[in-house]
Amino acid sequence: MNYDIAPPQASTFAPKVDALFYVISALTAFFTIVVFALVLYFAVKYRKGSKADRSNIVHDSHKIELAWSIPPLVLGLGIFAWGAQVFIEMRTMPKDAIEIFVIGKQWMWHVQHPNGVRENNEIHVPLGKKVKLTMISQDVIHAVYIPAFRAQYQVIPGRYTTLWFEPTKEGKYPLFCNMYCGTQHSEMGGYVYVVKPDEYAQFLARGGDKKKPGAPTSLVERGKELYTKLNCLGCHELNDNVRGPSLHGIAGAKRKLKTGELVAADDDYLREAIIRPEAKIVNGYENTMPQDYKGQLTEEQIRELLEYIKSLTGKSASVAPTPNEGMNP
């Protein structure tokens, strides 16, 4: 039996979070011990009938109150600033990270690497490389929690959330679902394997540990197949036309809606445009999208479509999202 009192430190965040943790622990221990010791000492020293000196009793003093309120406040604000700084680093996704796609569903984790290799309840990640998880839930709210990385974020249905880390130590670390999600919540877990970058490359090349016939196809390739199968090209051609806007270069572009609102075409926008096309109609178009993709497509397929759409850059000038755009600058 292992009697550790701290989780292993296996990411760049771990020592930073732990440093904060130990400083707050020191403050907590200091204030608890000093104040509680004083309380007990006073309670005994000034017990009824004791001969202790009770002269010059003060009943009210804003000076004293300020004197003992301000130092803890200043310490608290210092902890706040330090914590916020580390948090901002945690929540700012690096541009150069390897993006791994994670779907949570009752009660398993489904993982896809960029080249299409899939895993269930396990995530292989390369040592010393930044890894970004893009996550979505197929049913209720879950949370990816990897204690050894001090990394956690909720996995929510209907929108993408992200999480990043940089592993610093090889090994096998628990991965927990940390948002109560139903009967088998406690078994919705698995492991994160931190392996050397060349082992990770080999892992991807051999198609993961679950042998399946044929080489893995990447998310973009599978998205392209779906794009063809669903006949998206029937309306969304290389250039805008009356049936639908072009999807080339759409990812990240600003879209002007019928309501006049200007929104960025991020992952959540593109996802919603597929399964709930009525929600945001681009100016100049009618809603002629088939309405039934919601029931047909899994989150995994939607992601594949998104990856394919994001790879479309055939058109250079895609900033003009609607045919009318030129007329109202």
């Binding site: 204030f31 009770r54 916020a84």
Partner: protein, 565 residues
Amino acid sequence: MSATVVTPGEAVQAPEPESSSVNYLNVSHTLRSWLLTGDHKRIAVLYLISVTFFFFLGSIAASLVRIELMSPNGLMMESETYNKMFSAHGIIMIFFFLIPSIPAIFGNFLIPIMIGARDLAFPRLNLASWYMYMIAGVLVLMSFLMGGVESGWTFYTPYSSLTTSQVTLCLIGLFIMGFSSIATGLNFIVTIHKMRAPGMTWDRLPLFVWAHYATSIIIILGTPVVAITLLLVVMERMFDIGVFNPANGGDPVLFQHMFWFYSHPAVYIMVLPGMGVISELISNFSQKRTFGYHMIAYSSLAIALLGFLVWGHHMFVAGQSMYQGVVFSLLSFILAVPSAIKVFNWTATIYKGQVRLQTPMVYALGFLGLFLIGGLTGLYLACLATDVHLTATYFIVAHFHYVMVGGAMVAFLGALHYWWPKMFGRMYPDSWGKMSALLVFVGFNLTFFPQFVMGYMGMPRRYHYYYFAPEFQPYHIASTLGSSVLAVGLILPALYLTWSLKYGKKVGPNPWNARGLEWETASPPITTNFEQIPIVEHEAYDFDHGPIDDTWDEESPIRAHEVKR
């Protein structure tokens, strides 16, 4: 029980023969006279009985959860049963013990007496609030018996709108419970504003009353929000309205915002009345005016108002924007200050007092120790980076149990032991009281301290099995063993307090030599509280005036103001 136990009641002269006198308890004996009473004291007793009953149920659920967790593979339940068990524990303890306990029992009993009134402003609304509490309780217990509730006390959507367990019935029960709270809060606010005795200015209000005033503000501002939220979940389940369901364009995170907008302030609904109790205990058992009376009173109001601005600190990893996280974190750190002021001021009150270490004071000292840890561990969770690692783990479980159980429940027990002789006219054996206070303190720490370590190591809360992380088992076993000590500490008062109802020593009006109008009326009080409405001439906790008790112990009585200056 030893006959040599010295109870404080012995020492004080009882000027009138209470045994023959009529009081609120013996004025009538029919069941009807109790069930249709408008007397705030009788309603408080009704609440005491029913809240104790629910506390007992919640404790059984807690014990079963703790036993189950001794093995990584579980001992006796299926996961579904386990989930229903921790949900039942949370729902009962939060909504039927912590929220109503101190306000509905002691607030109800004491606020009119403390301000020199004959009753609350709306006696029938007060009785109605108890009936709503009971109806809510019956509905919620029915939902447990008819299949159970598997969604935890937090009811996060979309799980709570999709699960097939009896969530709808349970939520309707909690919706009604909300109205019970609102009725009580409204009653307190009106009573405190309009019914104070002559001379009972705001500056002279006991701090217990100030704390309840602040609590009532939170109740009437916050409870409607959670009532609407729970109703929306019911409508989501029944009519699929899609407010929280992303498949219909809803936002599940919106639920978390609306839920915590109430449920964070609700933490203060649970703990502010406890702080009010502690202010009374510290001052009266130190026989000294509270240090910084005004700061303690105003800090209650500050907590009530600031408490509404920090709900987002429950959602640092829940898809709320990074900037929101930073703002909520900052506000949470600022909110720590008023609580810190209270703790420091209590400590300063003991300083140079005449401290009597009787049972209620032992509970108050225990509260200080546990609340210090509970409050300070809040810093780990207000701090963004550490919260990312600790949120939803056993660290949070330990933290809020230190605040809710170590704070609110220990204060409840302190209040129970302090006002018990006032409510029932008889004293329990002090040595048993002290022993139970000590057992609660030790047992509580043994139960919950290991959970801090376990949480830091990454043990998620609400886990039935942990067989793929068996390193947590020693902590679970330690915690369960500790909880058995805690259980003994809680069973003891149930026994000796019940015993004291018949066999306890009778006490006079003021067995503790305490200050406050409730100690100037008979124990137990008459139905109208006072023969004549008192006129208040001194500030609260004025130990320079009022009855002098020099017979409390054998040592020479020295009183603070008599010492040469």
